[in-house]
Subunit: 438 residues, 4 copies
Amino acid sequence: MSFFPNVPQIKYEGRGSKNPFAYKHYNPKEVVFGKTMEEHLRISVAYWHTFNANGTDPFGVGTAVRSWDSLSPLDRSLARVEANFELLEKLGVPYYAFHDADIAPEGETLAETNKNIDVVVAKLKEYQQSTGKKLLWNTANLFTNPRYVHGASTSSNAEVFAYSAATIKKMLEVGKELGAENYVFWGGREGYESLLNTDMGLELDNLARMLHMAVDYAKEIGFGAQFLIEPKPKEPTKHQYDFDAATAINFLRKYGLKDYFKMNIEANHATLAGHTFEHELRVSRLEGALGSIDANQGDYLLGWDTDEFPTDLYSTTLAMYEILKNDGLGKGGVNFDAKVRRTSFEDEDLFYAHIAGIDSFAHGLKAAAKLIEEKVLDGVIEERYSSYREGVGAEIVAGKHDLKSLEQYVLTKQQPIKNRSNRLEQLRASVNEVITSV
Amino acid sequence: MSFFPNVPQIKYEGRGSKNPFAYKHYNPKEVVFGKTMEEHLRISVAYWHTFNANGTDPFGVGTAVRSWDSLSPLDRSLARVEANFELLEKLGVPYYAFHDADIAPEGETLAETNKNIDVVVAKLKEYQQSTGKKLLWNTANLFTNPRYVHGASTSSNAEVFAYSAATIKKMLEVGKELGAENYVFWGGREGYESLLNTDMGLELDNLARMLHMAVDYAKEIGFGAQFLIEPKPKEPTKHQYDFDAATAINFLRKYGLKDYFKMNIEANHATLAGHTFEHELRVSRLEGALGSIDANQGDYLLGWDTDEFPTDLYSTTLAMYEILKNDGLGKGGVNFDAKVRRTSFEDEDLFYAHIAGIDSFAHGLKAAAKLIEEKVLDGVIEERYSSYREGVGAEIVAGKHDLKSLEQYVLTKQQPIKNRSNRLEQLRASVNEVITSV
Amino acid sequence: MSFFPNVPQIKYEGRGSKNPFAYKHYNPKEVVFGKTMEEHLRISVAYWHTFNANGTDPFGVGTAVRSWDSLSPLDRSLARVEANFELLEKLGVPYYAFHDADIAPEGETLAETNKNIDVVVAKLKEYQQSTGKKLLWNTANLFTNPRYVHGASTSSNAEVFAYSAATIKKMLEVGKELGAENYVFWGGREGYESLLNTDMGLELDNLARMLHMAVDYAKEIGFGAQFLIEPKPKEPTKHQYDFDAATAINFLRKYGLKDYFKMNIEANHATLAGHTFEHELRVSRLEGALGSIDANQGDYLLGWDTDEFPTDLYSTTLAMYEILKNDGLGKGGVNFDAKVRRTSFEDEDLFYAHIAGIDSFAHGLKAAAKLIEEKVLDGVIEERYSSYREGVGAEIVAGKHDLKSLEQYVLTKQQPIKNRSNRLEQLRASVNEVITSV
Amino acid sequence: MSFFPNVPQIKYEGRGSKNPFAYKHYNPKEVVFGKTMEEHLRISVAYWHTFNANGTDPFGVGTAVRSWDSLSPLDRSLARVEANFELLEKLGVPYYAFHDADIAPEGETLAETNKNIDVVVAKLKEYQQSTGKKLLWNTANLFTNPRYVHGASTSSNAEVFAYSAATIKKMLEVGKELGAENYVFWGGREGYESLLNTDMGLELDNLARMLHMAVDYAKEIGFGAQFLIEPKPKEPTKHQYDFDAATAINFLRKYGLKDYFKMNIEANHATLAGHTFEHELRVSRLEGALGSIDANQGDYLLGWDTDEFPTDLYSTTLAMYEILKNDGLGKGGVNFDAKVRRTSFEDEDLFYAHIAGIDSFAHGLKAAAKLIEEKVLDGVIEERYSSYREGVGAEIVAGKHDLKSLEQYVLTKQQPIKNRSNRLEQLRASVNEVITSV
Ligand SMILES: [Co+2]
Ligand SMILES: [Co+2]
Ligand SMILES: [Co+2]
Ligand SMILES: [Co+2]
Ligand SMILES: [Co+2]
Ligand SMILES: [Co+2]
Ligand SMILES: [Co+2]
Ligand SMILES: [Co+2]
């Protein structure tokens, strides 16, 4: 049985194709910059947006009608498994990602919930084996249920901390069972609504306690996934503790966790924090902490997480540039944490939207590769910083100077300081030519 | 004598040229969508950013060193005239635009200032005649001098209102003398710093009084330029009265001025107001008030007017789309109200930056033309709104219904309402294909 | 039967009271600035936030458990009526406000929906009569149901326009039946998600068509309520047509509707538009269009409508200042379009939150009255603009000048222009003293 | 000779005084919460805003006319010294703070500049001794001169790094000479304009190299000041490396500098970074890194650093709350990094503005002390987190649990989880009562 009977297999037809069910840029086996596109991008579908979301927003109920809506909870969960693998097959992409709450209905008790999860996990495993599709990452949803009203690991209620711990334990086991390559921690309600009533010190300590427990338990059960923190500055809370990459990395350093975690950087979270996507990727890369990405885009004029499918080629190009400079994402991938617009409520939109996003990343990959191959940016950078590869600059970098020797240098130097133009406008024009020429 | 001896004539060399002193897209005589590029774009250089600005910012002094810097005030002004026409010639663009304060030094008295202006205007006129270059618009700078500390037309000091009136009078005469095709009113300090001490009613009335006087005087002297309001939401004031196009048009309507003014829409002002550039253009177009544009771009993550040279092809494409839908800009044009970055402080950057901006608009023009020719957007729109061209929709548009008849219609209708997907993700992917294919 | 058995009658106990169920500032019969507080404030409870909302947010389900939750839809609606009047009685406030969808369950058809509405309206009327409580305003919810996915009056689907018309008709009748003093139009989805696929001209024309039909029908049935537009810049749509007061008023002017509508200004909508609350009130007041307010507050660092109960005394003071300067709100009132935080999920919070909001407005009222009585602001303003009450300033205001006469005035004047300091810092300190002294 | 002959000694006259030249709240010797107000606040005047700034903004020249304007550069610098101590005396406050560029004119060479500095420093020292006034902190201005166009420690030009080092060396010596209690590093241009042309890794390494050199040199010369980093997210650069407290602290940790630096938190920088002032203070406090504050306020609706004198009592109260919880600022103080509005251009405004700011902080101090003494916030917090002081919560905090034991706890627990309301609205009302009652 098919859930998307009107949707054919999506194939690469290249630029100029007018077939809406075809890729114009994503050609999985095409080699770019030494690897296939598939190897570079490691594309993943987000279960929650694709199979659970229905277009609800704060001012309206869902608009999407899916064929599995009418089923009973557990049957609906099982149907979604089939729909997931059909969609992965038709899109021709290798990975998916989920929260516990996405795949199985919550029971009355933890035991019941876990039983539901086991039923669905068995089916997921069976489908993984038969299709070869893989789990990029899984995670625990510690924000939807009312019990998390005051947070999970950072709840003011210790009972909630305990429940969160039990849930994370289960999901680590599920990740191991399904061979998840990563495990994500997004602190949905780990933050505060008001400092007036918040013991921020205790909450941060507790957050660290939980992460240490998770590290220990993964080690204990031999779950070798890469652990990832996903920063976000706000929403749903007024202020989330993992505000951005620098804040999250500072937290990890403070609590002795830096070696065990990398970042899962989401584009829309970056912009909500006042950064570009590429900034967050650069910060993470320089910290040796670029783990994976949640591919989407926000609207700079809107102040909430719109999770749009990414189509801005400037953003996908500069993201892929950072990823190429990082020698790829390792165990991570490009997970489309993106939802179809509420007005794109038909089943076909799930495909059109993924095609748009995947093609935009494939386009960005080709453009980024060309930027590097033609040294469009690197050439400028080499030239700009050349003074640090000779003379006093080289000595500074080599640690041969202190304030006194540099004062001496300045006092005895003959020529006045001469700076050179950055030529940023010209560089931006060059980037345009690259992006529109691949 | 040349002010830019190292800069050759900028010619069109097309895509693939690596010559930094060449256009890759702007080919003045190339016909696109029925007119030459030159006729479509009517490109103008902003005198202030190009010949007066030097890279000063709130935390640093100027970085640019121009050859005319060492001259005495009036000689410097005269040298800038020559530099202006040399730049226009080398760029191969037809227009320029200025404030009074850009072209001549202010004197001790109004009479002295006007005398200085006359000297420079004579030289500008002579150069216009010999080169064929033209004045897109002129305006009065009513914000830099300390006298305007509390505003100009909206100053709390009636003496300042009077001085502003005299200055506008002079600049209308200058506009007439130089054949300016437009005259711009940007209310630099026409707004408030705090409502606590502001009589907003009186200030708005006074602003309207001044505009009426200007309309009357232009009529009196036979100055036929199109009058333009340039909206901006804030900066330097906390709140400017011409916040955005809708606000400015409301003001014009309220005070009986709507027939005499159109909008000069600046991209960066639009985004500071929480709108896209294309939104402001669309609003103006639908009001029959799209007069001219100040071409630049802001940074969505920065809260001040960065006036960058425009290189975002999404923005230039959608701007040109609105302009083509408007049947062009009439007397208006594409004025580069953009400044080289403080770090792009060499003379050559003035050219590189204009080339980047002009090419981006030429690229946008070609992409917009293709969007229209291939009905990429119009096809979707025709389909989306088709229900208003038949049945009850056509009747509604024709004014044949009221609430009662529509209730009757709903109560007797058989089928439930069926909406269709907007397919926005797919449409965005199509737009990408167009922009990267011209 | 009581829905809030633990909540006593809320009485005024004044400053210093530690009783959480008492007003510290709101003393209904206390005369301030010539009227009782009750007459000034005309306080209204928002049905939707108080009786329908349950703390759902985009990342979590409801947290509030209300005693009526377990009832069947129509019974739940009827129970809420009782709860509403109990809350109004206990708070000692005179008004409430609702959307159709708040008071009755939607049926399968319009006819069925209207029948449900009639049942509840009968009960509301009965309770109004027995308690003396009144309806400040009602409105139609044209955004929650999936049929409004593309808008209501501005839907791309004419069937939806028709359905919206029928719904508005019903709600005008309901308003008449219940003696509503106002009727509100908030265009929840009257805007666009993307200009790429939007015929903005047609949509605005249709919006005007609908408002004209509503004006006509109200006249026809003798419904004398004040019509109100509630501007909001965005959310749920990317861009709402009634962006702010100036935009909405421009629309009304363009379409010949200005005489029939005033503004319902919401504080949080103002700040989302980049304005202060008091700015939007001032703009409306100067246009003779200040009709009513939705009392709440946003968080300047969050980009969505948080609808918090208002407790910022700067905001309530300056809002009340504008209202006093407007000679009050006429038929309008202070409607608490505010919701308890998701973390304030207990029944008692509905009271604590209203007490906090009402006291903040009462405090603001007293502070605003003192500002006026002591001429703290007016004294400054009189002084600042004194030049327009004599000499050339008075002549300008009297229309006796043109550009030529003003140039003449400047050229012959002896003294240089002298401005005076605004002393804004001192004024702000004075405002602090007033706010903290009442 | 007096620079402010019209300004009397500012004395405490208390609430109700209408004397604009009197404090209504700041009573230096009054004991609050165990210390005098003077000891709590350690108030400092910012030299640059008070004696150098003149009201220039990006659209206008200076408006302030000071009596020292007409002097030659070095005489002007010496006159400002006298004006500074007169103002400190008249305000009755103990500290001031400066950059090198504030106190002395820059020479043609470093040697000449240093000579100028020496002349002024000698006079400053003399005045310090005769008046008892002290230097809260000094710093080097590494952003105004064109040589810093690409940054200072992070310049792409190694010559600029060297020059910066020499300048910092001099200012450490000046700090020692004048007994500065702190030394501040604000990285005015330490950031980037575009990632396209930036080697962020090298720049951050170089920034760390410079800070290590400064630490070493201070040790060498026995300069015992507290070193402070002042975070700011942007402006003048697009992105500053010390974005906020968490980012700066992460940088310090990464480069082994955490032990040598604390934070100088500026209110307006906090809000530009998307945080409240109190958030940045809390983060710093929990890191043991709250060193000093730059007291001012921004405008949430404006996107640039307005550096307004602080008058928002919510902000000053919550700031003082964090400071009291930190057991004070140690060597740090409350430095008014605030400028009079461009429209407050008269000499008297320097006093009115400082009075407004100082009174607002004194008011905030009294309110914060009352919040603590009455346990308004602490009582709520104790109650909220009580579950961590007993049972499973206490065990978690004591490190006695892991994921397995907590799962076991959840599986065997009998009662469902019960959360309690946060009562945030009620708490905010209580805070209002405290702020308006002191
Ligand atoms: Co994500
Ligand atoms: Co997101
Ligand atoms: Co402009
Ligand atoms: Co601009
Ligand atoms: Co509202
Ligand atoms: Co709202
Ligand atoms: Co500062
Ligand atoms: Co600042």
